[in-house]
């Protein structure tokens, strides 16, 4: 099971772009990379998922280099409401579904 490593915490000012990098050196061929956001006392919320290169949706972008040993979640122009814990997960395909294991996440604090 691929383990992920990401910074414990980050601070950013409102309006700035935030990039959170996650290392997953032993990612397997079938593994996808997924990022979740969690606010206090709420369930994790899916942000974005990718396999390789770049994925963009209305919320964020995900950059994955060719070797897939890391990935970077990019949040454009963050606001105070983006203050949350962000989890990078590498899902292992197991029994036909993706078994996900949460790490400790990156606590993003957006400062006014």
């Amino acid at each position: 099971l691929a383990k992920t490593t990401q910074p414990i915490s980050m601070d950013s000012y409102e309006g700035q772009e935030v990039n959170i990098t996650c290392s997953h050196n032993n990612i397997a061929t079938n593994d996808y990379i997924t990022w979740y956001q969690q606010f206090p006392s709420q369930g994790p919320r899916f942000i974005i998922q990718g396999y390789k290169t770049k994925v963009t949706n209305e919320v964020a972008s995900l950059f994955i280099p060719a070797d897939r040993k890391s990935s970077t979640l990019s949040l454009p122009r963050v606001s105070l409401s983006d203050t949350a814990v962000y989890y990078c997960l590498v899902g292992e395909e197991s029994g036909g579904y993706q078994k996900v294991t949460f790490g400790t996440g990156t606590k993003l604090q957006v400062i006014p």
Binding site: Y32, T34, Y36, Q38, S41, Q42, G43, P44, R45, F46, Q49, Y51, Y87, G91, E93, S94, G95, G96, Y97, Q98, K99, V100, T101, F102, G103, T104, G105
Partner: protein
């Protein structure tokens, strides 16, 4: 947008009592999961469920835990004899299919064991 719902939002129980936590997954989803998060700690996988049987369970999911899909919509987690250390947020999740399909989480049930 369809979402996973959970009831109750907060459950308080005495040690040794049985609790049932309820979840309604997204209607066309086929895979169901339970996770827990002890206050201040990371989200931990408990169990996955597909085709009316457990697909996988973690070491946390011992004989005190059971899951059931009693009808076409509900997915329940039962803890037979609660312990103080069972106090946590319990999240239900569901996904449409397997492979890389995204898991959608409910808002959680906060279980407090006294």
């Amino acid at each position: 947008e369809p979402e996973v719902t959970q009831t109750p939002s907060h459950q308080v129980t005495q040690m040794g009592q049985e609790v049932i936590l309820r979840c309604v997954p997204i209607s066309n989803h086929l895979y169901f999961y339970w996770y827990r998060q002890i206050l201040g700690q990371k989200v931990e996988f408990l169990v996955s469920f597909y085709n009316n049987e457990i697909s996988e369970k973690s070491e946390i999911f011992d004989d005190q835990f059971s899951v059931e899909r009693p009808d076409g919509s509900n997915f329940t987690l039962k803890i037979r004899s609660t312990k103080l250390e069972d106090s946590a947020m319990y999240f239900c999740a569901s996904s449409e299919g397997g492979d890389a399909d995204t898991q959608y989480f409910g808002p959680g049930t906060r279980l407090t064991v006294l």
